[in-house]
């Protein structure tokens, strides 16, 4: 049976809490809802940012997601633009 949006949200938050690295690519969330289309998962993840459950973390060229309590400060990243 297909997962509800609330179930997917919970799975994404759980993944963001427990992943070894605080920053996650959108693809890292795909397994949270294997039957859902990637664009739908993206919309749910972005909604979670609006709700304050996740936040964006960008290197400039790539954007990742993280739990706000797992990102300590505004230090910049080493990387490419």
């Amino acid at each position: 049976m297909a997962m509800s949006v609330e179930e997917v949200e919970a799975a994404i938050i759980e993944k963001a809490k427990k992943a070894p690295k605080p920053q996650l690519y959108i693809k890292d969330f795909y397994k949270c809802a294997p039957d859902m289309k990637p664009r739908q998962i993206k919309k749910i993840a972005n909604k979670l940012v609006e709700k304050g459950e996740l936040m964006f973390w960008s290197s400039g060229s790539t954007t990742m997601y993280a739990r706000p309590d797992r990102i300590k400060d505004e230090e910049g990243a080493e990387g490419i633009n």
């Binding site: 919309k43 400039g60 990742m64």
Partner: protein, 426 residues
């Protein structure tokens, strides 16, 4: 902020050419943080390493792009650039803006930032260089409410779409580039302002194959104007060019000493597909061989014009050399109608077919052109539901293996893969 000693940078002020060092010193008179840019850059020259860090969590509420965090890794020495964030402002289609708008934008940037700009970034945005985190929200408010402008894309977002000036000034534009650029910018606001993809994705719209926005070299999705029927020829005007009464190239090179116009040498012999010839005093073109290089039309604009049945070619997968080397886009759809009457439905259909596939198959930080290269063109064409045509083939195959799918072979074939693997382990 103190002025720093910058002996190496000072060397870059010598000579007859413009110097960014001179510009920044002038800017530092009103924005002292610019001294710290120069000081930090001098230190980078000494240390042979950058002292910028970039990325992080800075942004404005609700947006996941448009601002790139930038910090100094030596803020104690250069406090003026402790925060020096970059802001990308979505440029107007075709880069048309009034001087009034530019002045207002610069006033805004003088108020909230360093006053330094990069007009324009390679995606086309107006880039405002250098502000602090606490200035971001007030600047965004004024930008959107007072100037009616918006941020562009960054990160894994759809990047700010860009286009040539199209039908507004160019007689060769085969579709309205500015209209589609604006329409798709509005249609894909969510994808521009919030991350959506494994990596960046760029649209560029060129009205003809002169490709003034270099869509074929710089965009994941290049829409390049073309025509389906024959190049329009005005034989009377051809004669005028031959007689020297019309200047070649619209007079663009008239100051050089090129001698009299030579149709054979300057047009026919330079045709890359050799599809032009003279019959008596009439110019003939084998249009089935024309590859839309635009050279003949550029040289004789009063005699030759694009055909009447206009649309676009879609090329996919160009990129700059970040992970792999640079690559040009690959022609996937030779001709597609571009019509505002259907709100670009057919173009949107192609875009979303690519996205649905790439979001699933593309690896993190892999541009769509790299994914295409990894899976191979035949696989990509089947994803796009495009029938292969000879023009998709770059060169005769050197790989002797031919793989057929069951549905491609008349009568098909049956194979028990389990039974096969018992004899041939994978």
């Amino acid at each position: 902020m103190a002025k720093h000693d910058t002996p190496m940078l000072d060397e870059l002020e010598k000579g007859p050419w413009p110097s960014f060092v001179t510009d920044m010193k002038r800017q530092a008179e009103t924005h002292p943080e610019c001294w710290d840019i120069l000081g930090q850059l001098e230190l980078s020259y000494e240390d042979k390493i950058t002292h910028w860090k970039h990325g992080g969590i800075v942004g404005v509420f609700g947006y996941g792009g448009g601002i790139v965090g930038r910090y100094s890794d030596v803020p104690d020495r250069f406090p003026g650039v402790e925060h020096f964030h970059t802001i990308r402002v979505n440029q107007p289609a075709g880069l048309y803006y009034s001087t009034e708008n530019l002045r207002a934008l610069m006033d805004l940037w003088d108020k909230y930032g360093s006053g330094m700009t990069n007009m324009h970034g390679s995606t086309g945005d107006m880039i405002l260089l250098g502000t602090r985190t606490e200035n971001l929200e007030p600047l965004f408010w004024d930008l959107t409410h007072d100037l009616g402008q918006d941020l562009g894309g960054s990160g894994s977002n759809l990047r700010t779409p860009s286009c040539c000036l199209g039908e507004s000034r160019c007689e060769w534009a085969c579709y309205d580039t500015q209209d589609i650029c604006y329409a798709l910018t509005m249609h894909y606001q969510d994808e521009i302002h919030r991350p959506a993809f494994p990596y960046k994705f760029k649209f560029k719209f060129s009205g003809c194959a002169n490709d003034c926005v270099a869509a074929i070299a710089r965009s994941d999705f290049a829409v390049i104007g073309t025509w389906k029927d024959d190049i329009q020829i005005d034989q009377a005007a051809v004669k005028e060019y031959v007689a020297g009464n019309y200047p070649a190239n619209g007079g663009a090179h008239k100051d050089g000493d090129w001698g009299p116009f030579n149709l054979k040498k300057e047009v026919i012999d330079l045709c890359p597909t050799q599809c032009m010839w003279m019959e008596g005093d009439e110019l003939k073109i084998d249009n089935s061989e024309c590859n839309r290089c635009m050279h003949c039309i550029n040289v004789m604009p009063r005699a030759l014009r694009p055909g009447k049945e206009k649309g676009a070619t879609i090329c996919i997968g160009a990129k700059a050399p970040i992970l792999d080397g640079a690559q040009f886009a690959t022609m996937i759809i030779p001709f597609i109608e571009v019509s505002k009457d259907n709100e670009y439905e057919n173009i949107i259909d192609v875009i979303e077919r690519i996205w649905d596939w790439w979001m699933e198959v593309g690896k993190n930080r892999e541009r769509v052109g790299e994914t295409m290269q990894r899976v191979g063109l035949p696989t990509f064409l089947s994803v796009m539901e495009v029938e292969p045509i000879p023009q998709h083939v770059k060169e005769p195959r050197s790989n002797p293996y031919v793989f057929w799918k069951e549905e491609e072979v008349p009568g098909g074939f049956e194979r028990d893969i389990v039974e096969f693997r018992k004899r041939h382990a994978a």
